[in-house]
Every structure is written in C-alpha cells, then in structure tokens.
C-alpha cells in the first residue's frame, strides 16, 4: 500500500501553484527538488500576508508592528526547536542558509578549537559547502580536511572510517558529515558514526540539508554538536537556514560577524556580546522569510514526516526499477536506504546533453557535479543526471522521465 492515495497526491499537487506551469509547451515535470523545493500556497501566502500587515524590523522596536514581527520571527525559532526536538530555543541559530551555518561553525568553533595538523573528517562525496569552509579555516589554523572514502555503492567505507577515527591521518577534532548525499541520495549511518566519534571526544557536525526535509531528524537522538540545513530545500523561502548547536557548545563560542543585535555594549574601548543565539545573528534578520519558514514546518507536519519518508522510499524504489531497464544506464548510489534522489549516467552520453534534451521535453532534472566534484572524481564521471523527488512526485512523472531518457538514448547514443 502506498503512503498516499492517488487522490491525496492530487490534492497535494494542487497546493503547489508552480506545478500548473508548462515548459516548452509541455507540462512541467519537476524532478529537481534536491536543488530547491517548491513552495506550497500556504507558504507563499504567509509571506505575502506578513509583508502586507506586519512587516517591521524586529527585536529593538517598542511599537506594535515591531512586536508582532518579532513574535513571528522568534516564533519560527520556537517552531524549529520543536521540529528538531531541541532542548532549548536558544539552540537554534537562524542563518541565511546551510552554507552560512557551516561557515559560522568553521569561523567560531573551528577557529577556537582547530590546531595545526588537526584533522576535520568529512566524506569523500561531501557537498562543497562542507569541504571548502574547512579548507579555508585550515589555511589559518593549519588543520587539514581528510575524506572518508566511499565504496562503489556510494556507502561510506566504515573500516576506513574507524582507522581514520583512530588517527590514521592525524588527530581528528571534528567529524563533519552529510546525513544524506545530495549527489546520490545515500543515507549514511550517522547515529552510529557520531557515537563512535563522541566516544573519542571528537566533535560532530551533521549536514542535514538533504535529510531534514525528508524524514524526522531528532537532534537529541542524533546527539551531534551541530546540525545545519537550509529552508529553501524544505518548502520554506530562500535566504533561510538553521544552525542547531548544543547549548553548552554554542555558549562557549565567541562571535563571528559583527553588527547590530549581536552586541551587549559597544564602545571604542571595547565591546561585549549578546547571549546565545543572538551573538551569532548580526544585522537585521530575514524576518519576512521566518513567517514562511513557520508555514513550511506546519505544512510538513500536516502532511507528516513519516508519510513523506515512506513515499520517498516508494518513489526511489520505483525509479530504480524502471531506470534499470534502460540500456546503457548506470545508477550511481545503489546502497539502500536512500532519500529522494536517483543519480545516473548514460553510456557515451554527456550529462549536459541529456539534461538539455530532457528540458525540451519539460522534464527538469539537474545535471553536472552537484557541487560535489570530489564525488564525481571518485566515480570517474564528469557529472551525473540527477532526478530528485518531493511528496508530490508521481509514478507517471517517473515514467515520463524514463521515456525521455530512452529518447535521449536513441538520439544521442544510437541505442
């Protein structure tokens, strides 16, 4: 039995205005949900309503509008704390996105704790956002970034991981690991990996950009020091992101960006800083988007994270099954479980060409390196074709994709 009835899926689809669009005269088949998710009406209208009635700068204002805007903005923090099962609202730092969240940790925790020769462990198939900030901070601290290799099925090599944890490449100070691979969809066993790291006194950061939108993530169950993700991948507006940090961990960190709101007392003889989480939130926050973030969480919880995950699993299984029948097609990422992504290559066909042709058929997939060049290098491909799903994706859409891929195969591969 499916997680949703066909009627339920149709009802879901009708909540997303963009799904009514056509592309090159064909109905849009949106299979690029891992790059950015679409916004349901409720989120779009929450943003609009906020800007029409409550738009005002937050925190410092005594007037009614500012109070209402502050309630909405801080309300999104409460809502996020609950969504993640955080112990305290202060554990939620609001950022502009997953990328900023990681840079924030690198420039605060990293600068304070990393020393020359220390190792930051990441995976070999990490998103650039979880590689480059550690390289950049390494230029200042002398620390290095070491990849945990992946096996041919894109799962992490756990033996190699254990050796690295034991110091094979130097003393590990931080495990900074994706929960779900954006390039391949692989769900990594982060709970167990965090347990192993913590047992050795190693700090942990989970890149939840592709997990938090797809299944319930409980920070207390994960027991990580940091969890980062973006709003725009979970039906919330762009320009929103979250850094969850354990209170004691955050509380021990100095500031990163300076400006309004993050200070206690400013003077030219010396400045003191505000408490957590405000210490990390310099400048006017994206308060309009916060209204949309709350609406997005309402939407996700109304649909149900468990059902979303079940549906996701169905779609991945169906796509695997159908794509496997296409000659010359190879799926990268055969290890299960996976979340929402199927990545593949076509023998002798450049992913860019395939993407261009699929686009002409109204099918939006992502092609290229998916901001994970080391992953592409690992598998010896210039890029892949990636279809990524949402709760509103249908089997029919996957059929359209498969049909499209067959045509590409015929035109470009002579198959």
């Amino acid at each position: 039995m499916s997680a949703f009835t066909p009627e339920e899926i149709q009802a879901l689809r009708s909540r997303f205005p963009i799904l009514g669009r056509t592309v090159h005269g064909k109905p849009l088949v949106y299979l690029d949900n891992a790059a950015t998710s679409q916004m349901p009406n409720s989120v779009i209208e929450a943003v609009r309503e906020f800007d029409r009635t409550k738009h005002a700068n937050v925190h410092r204002g005594v007037h009614q509008l500012s109070q209402e805007a502050t309630d909405v903005h801080e309300g999104s923090r409460d809502r996020l704390a609950k969504f993640l099962n955080a112990r305290r609202r202060e554990e939620i730092v609001l950022t502009r996105g997953c990328t900023e969240s990681i840079n924030l940790v690198a420039n605060t925790w990293g600068r304070q704790n990393l020393r020359s020769k220390d190792v930051v462990l990441v995976s070999q198939i990490e998103h650039h956002a979880n590689i480059v900030p550690w390289q950049l901070i390494g230029n200042q601290t002398g620390s290095t970034v070491v990849p945990i290799p992946v096996l041919d099925d894109t799962s992490l090599d756990q033996d190699a991981f254990l050796k690295l944890l034991e110091g094979a490449a130097g003393p590990v100070k931080l495990l900074a690991i994706q929960h779900v691979s954006n390039a391949f969809g692989t769900i990594h066993p982060v709970v167990e990996m965090i347990r192993l790291a913590r047992a050795r006194g190693i700090a942990t950061l989970v890149d939840g950009a592709q997990s938090v939108p797809h299944f319930a993530v409980d920070v207390q169950a994960l027991d990580c020091d940091f969890l980062v993700f973006s709003g725009h991948k979970m039906h919330a507006p762009t320009g929103t992101g979250v850094l969850y940090g354990k209170f004691e961990v955050l509380d021990a960190l100095g500031p990163w960006q300076g400006g309004g709101d993050m200070i206690d007392k400013v003077s030219f003889s010396g400045t003191t800083f505000h408490e957590v989480p405000y210490r990390f939130e310099a400048g006017t926050p994206n308060f309009t988007a916060a209204a949309g973030f709350t609406a997005a969480l309402d939407f996700l919880e109304e649909v149900g994270m468990e059902k979303i995950h079940d549906r996701d699993t169905e779609l991945v299984a169906y796509a695997h099954q159908e794509l496997s029948t296409v000659p010359g097609l190879k799926i990268l990422g055969t290890h299960l479980p996976k979340a929402g992504v199927v990545s593949f290559v076509l023998d002798g066909i450049h992913p860019y060409d395939a993407g261009m042709f699929l686009d002409q058929m109204g099918i939006a997939v992502r092609t290229g390196h998916h901001c994970a060049q080391p992953a592409m290098e690992r598998f010896g491909v210039p890029g892949t074709i990636r279809a990524s799903f949402a709760m509103f994706t249908t089997e029919t859409e996957i059929d359209t994709l498969v049909e499209g891929v067959r045509r590409v195969n015929k035109i470009l591969g002579g198959r």
Partner: protein
C-alpha cells in the same frame, strides 16, 4: 491557587478593572512606580542590573523572617511601574510560592505582553532572576530543614 501571591494578584486584578482606558491604566502603573522605594545605593551597580535593550532594571533580593523580599528600580517610568507590580506581588512571599507562580494576573490586566521574551525592557530578565533567587533559597531551606 490559594496563598499570599494569589490573593495579591486578585487584589490587583480588581484594582485594574476600574480602568477602561489604556491611559488610565498606564497612569496608575506609573504612580505605583513612583511610590517604589527603589534599591539601596550599593545595589545600583552592574552586578544587580538586569539588562534590557531599552530600559534598565536593578533588583535587590533578600530574606526576612524566612520570606523572600525584593526591592527594585528602573530608569523608565513604565518599566518601573511594572517592576513595582512584581515587587508588590512577589516580595514577602514564601520562596516555593514565588517559584510556582505563573503570574497569570498579567493576562487579566492586559499587560502580559510586557513579559514576552521578545520585549526589550528588562522585565523578563527580572522575573527570571526573582524566580532563580527564590528557587535557590527554597532548595537551601529544604536541605537545611
């Protein structure tokens, strides 16, 4: 809901029920503030200051006859009135009552918003301090008695 705090709250709710207009209500609040004793000079220091972005509050806690007593002050008139209201309700009450009180009377008199965590008047911080102090004293009492 019996106890000294509850009966003081009831008294205040009745008192404020006389005012239809926000202006009268605030004027009454400000008058209450004007009658506040304030804190001893020695307590008007950073150590006893509860910081708010817009107005400052000073809080001087103490124990008299096994009851928690508070004196307090603020640099802004409305905040001082709210401070006076809190002192009137909580000062001289048993520690356990202070810890347990939800201060729901603020709702009834239409001033709850001033205690929202997003207000920048220092009041939330003050109530937190009051409760922390009472909690510390209560647990001390419990272990000694």
């Amino acid at each position: 809901m019996s106890g000294i705090i509850a009966s003081r709250e009831a008294e205040i709710v009745e008192e404020f029920s006389l005012f239809d207009e926000w202006l009268d209500k605030y004027q009454h609040l400000i008058e209450m503030g004007q009658k506040l004793t304030g804190v001893d000079e020695a307590f008007r220091t950073d150590a006893y200051k509860v910081k708010g972005c817009q107005s400052q509050v000073w809080l001087q806690p103490g124990i008299e006859n096994g009851l928690v007593v508070f004196r307090a002050d603020s640099d802004a008139a409305i905040t001082k009135g709210l401070v006076a209201l809190m002192v009137r309700v909580l000062s001289g009450a048993p520690a356990v009552e202070i810890v347990a009180s939800p201060l729901s009377f603020l709702e009834a008199i239409g001033l709850r918003e001033h205690l929202s965590p997003t207000r920048s008047n220092g009041l939330v911080g003050m109530v937190k301090q009051m409760k922390l102090y009472a909690a510390a004293y209560a647990s001390q009492e419990a272990s000694h008695g």
